[in-house]
Symmetry: C2
Subunit: 498 residues, 2 copies
């Protein structure tokens, strides 16, 4: 009886989440601007109702009742109780009044960050950033120290059981090998010609090609749709509705094509979760890093692969003949895999991207576990860019102010992006044993076995298994950056003929 | 204090309505099919929460408190209390258990109706229809007899204060004049050539033209958007978001163009309500009939007007040159205004349309106020079609089973469609005094003064004024079918050279 009650209760919370997500999707794909003010009130009302449900005494009692008879619970219910408990504590341990104060601060801090970025004035943002960090430190006290250090408590929010010990090691290994590689590339005279990337590619044609790519990758259009938004995203509304957006830049087709492939990786994760989890909060990715490993697997290991383009290059030429008609496939591949240290994370290439993440990680770690002060961030940021990437930002707008994450209090999130790349390389290494003809499949455009392998090892479980559990079962080992380092080494040595 | 509490409470209910409407819109404009089952559960959860709010003791007490000091209330609050009271009683007077039973029946009856229509078997639907009617009669007892007869109680749900006395009179007058006109047209040898209507008109071009028309009519794209759906509709999500859908039939462009113009009339009503009503349930049309008068005004008095097409015909030819290049404007106008008695209401022309409504009205009236039995409906239906339209349906699928309204218990709704035409003609008659150069404006494509007149007389008030009040203030009289009869007489005498 209690199990049924609990499941119904949890499903009802999911219904509110889903309604909010439909509204969120709508706001970002074309809701008319004059309706937005009132739409925000709708979000406020539904969020408040949801928060009441998430922190109710009733839910607390249901959790206690089920936790008292854990040994009687089936595995799905057990994991469900664990997940709901984690969220319940996260919401409940912070006094409601304080949380309200923090939400108000968040919104002010975001505005201050926007202004600071626009006017290139870190000082405008600093007092808010300091307050946000103070609040996070207070929340960590409420939540309790996890795995031995305050920052590990934050890491655990996005990547269950992740620690600085693990990250220091894998990021350390990786950094060394990437920095060496980037240096060699910088010294190489073998530079790709990238001018063709920025020629005009009509919007409608980009959309057609995006749809073709999605079909080829295995996206289920009966369980999703493709729309446009300013920033591409995937949103899993429910078990049968994982939507993708992309952005058509007529002067740089890469944002649409690679964006679509990336989001498709996210969406196929959501679309292929076991039906028995439908309607439960377990019917989603198990962590930010694992989710990112799916999108990056498709973006990098499929979408930037030579064989993939052997199959698709003719279609690309068909959709933008003036742009690609005279460009040899090899030149195109070198262009889309160009490496160049740059200031902006979201525009970085595959090889230098992890360095951007490591810088943010080290800063966050030292803010929470060490004695780094917010006021010193511009200096530390620039020093690290110079050390790791060999370039020094001339302005804070292009430096420490570029990402909005910290203005919302999202500390502990950045590592997921690099973890996604590390996981993805581990999946690829394991997949190679089961699918030795991977490249051949890409060349023929037969991508289904790839998606099926990922479904078997990752997708189906949703949040039923934790990241390290999935990794262990699929690859036989823990987090290991070696495979990513090897892949990058091999790929870029070949591309740049180092 | 109570006023603030009451207003906040009412606004919160509106937030739930708005969330449900965003979901409804999404379901009809492209939500992927595999997500629909769970989306229905979301609707179920939010609707149940909304129903709890709509029928709560708290709301009952707030209403009583405000009703006790009516003389202290400003006009907006007074009307708000009246409207909320009407809905509260409507929801509250039916015992919750009985209402639940009815909702279950509704869903079964809709399925039975679909099957009956598909297999042309009225007997499949009959037992459900009988039960639905019994429930409606029971509800009328709970709600109380309004204005002297049971059917008037139902009419009042959609058209406040409307009665059979009024309808019998206006419909009677109108029927006579329409039947005579239809007969003359049937006897005329001057038949339009309509073959050009059904030639291929590409979807994309129809969309372009629809967008142009919306801009010309005065639709505010910052407060709405145009999408496609199986059945065109307008949905007012909030004060700044009135969306339109249309349907592109490549072999009959009329559904998109006239559908878009029609829905635009509805949308401009919602877009131009006084800002002081924003967020309140008064920020909507005051009745179904008045709402329909706005859509029909634009569809018929603007969209089928000769001068409107003098301005727009070149654009039409531009978008479908093979179809219209060789067709003279006059021939086009005769084609889009063709009159022909037909079986299906939603496909009927402007002149015969009211006859379809009158038949349904008389049947409903006699079901609730007289002794007409559900089992006799096919016979009565066919007899009336023969009498009014001169044609007899050969199957029930093309007859009594064609509309879904009754399967959902929507009795009293049909008259609104014809009332919309009568009101529209009354607005037109009154407008002619203020805007004598109406035709000239159409010819120049300058439609703003028309929308402004309607905003001044109708739109701005939302549901603040009742239908008869609006009518009286704008036209100086009550409901009067004479203007519609005169308009039809003049228009079709000229078109068919009778």
């Amino acid at each position: 009886m209690t199990i049924q009650q609990f499941t119904d209760y949890v499903k009802k919370m999911q219904h509110y989440e889903e309604a909010l997500n439909v509204i969120y999707w709508d706001m970002r794909t074309g809701a008319p601007k004059k309706g937005l003010a009132q739409r925000s009130e709708v979000i406020g009302t539904l969020s408040a109702s949801l928060f009441d449900m998430q922190t109710s005494e009733e839910l607390g009692e249901l959790l206690l009742a089920l936790e008292a008879k854990k040994s009687d619970l089936d595995y799905v219910t057990l994991r469900l109780v664990e997940e709901v408990r984690k969220n319940y504590d996260q919401n409940k341990k912070i006094p409601a009044e304080e949380y309200k104060e923090f939400v108000i601060l968040q919104s002010k801090a975001e505005t201050a960050w926007e202004e600071a970025k626009e006017s290139n004035n870190f000082e405008l943002f600093l007092p808010y950033l300091e307050e946000i960090i103070q609040w996070q430190k207070k929340f960590i006290q409420y939540w309790g120290i996890k795995n031995g250090s305050p920052y590990n408590t934050l890491l655990d929010l996005y990547e269950p059981d992740m620690t600085t010990d693990v990250l220091d090691q894998v990021f350390g290994d990786l950094r060394e090998s990437i920095v060496t590689l980037v240096q060699k590339i910088a010294d190489s005279s073998n530079k790709p010609d990238t001018s063709m990337l920025f020629k005009h590619f009509p919007r409608e044609a980009q959309r057609e090609l995006s749809l073709e790519m999605l079909a080829q990758l295995g996206y289920d259009f009966d369980a999703g749709r493709l729309d446009e938004s300013v920033h591409p995203f995937m949103i899993g509304l429910n078990y049968g509705d994982a939507r993708i957006t992309t952005k058509y830049d007529e002067n740089d087709f890469r944002s649409a094509i690679f964006g679509t492939i990336h989001e498709c990786g996210h969406a196929m994760y959501e679309q292929n979760i076991d039906a028995k989890l439908a309607g439960l909060p377990l019917a989603t990715g198990t962590s930010m890093g694992i989710h990112e490993s799916q999108s990056l697997f498709y973006e990098n290991f499929v979408g930037r692969n030579e064989k993939f383009w052997e199959h698709n290059y003719e279609r690309l030429q068909h959709f933008s003949p003036a742009q690609f008609g005279d460009v040899a496939l090899g030149d195109f591949l070198r262009a889309i895999n160009m490496v160049e240290p740059s200031f902006i994370r979201i525009e970085a290439d595959e090889l230098t991207y992890p360095l951007h993440i490591m810088i943010r990680y080290e800063i966050e770690r030292d803010l929470f576990n060490g004695d780094l002060q917010a006021k010193d961030l511009p200096q530390v940021w620039n020093d690290k860019y110079e050390e790791y990437l060999g370039i020094r930002p001339e302005t804070d707008a292009m430096g420490v102010l570029q990402d909005m994450h910290w203005s919302g209090g999202m500390f502990g999130y950045f590592p997921s992006y690099a973890l996604g790349m590390i996981y993805a390389a581990q999946w690829k290494h394991a997949m190679d044993k089961d699918i030795p003809h991977f490249d051949e499949l890409l060349e023929k455009g037969e991508l289904l076995p790839i998606r099926e392998w990922l479904t078997e090892k990752v997708h189906q479980y949703g949040a039923l298994k934790k990241p390290f559990e999935l990794l262990k079962e699929a690859t036989g080992e823990g987090l290991n950056a070696k495979y990513l380092a090897d892949y990058l080494q091999e790929k870029y040595t070949k591309l740049y003929q180092l």
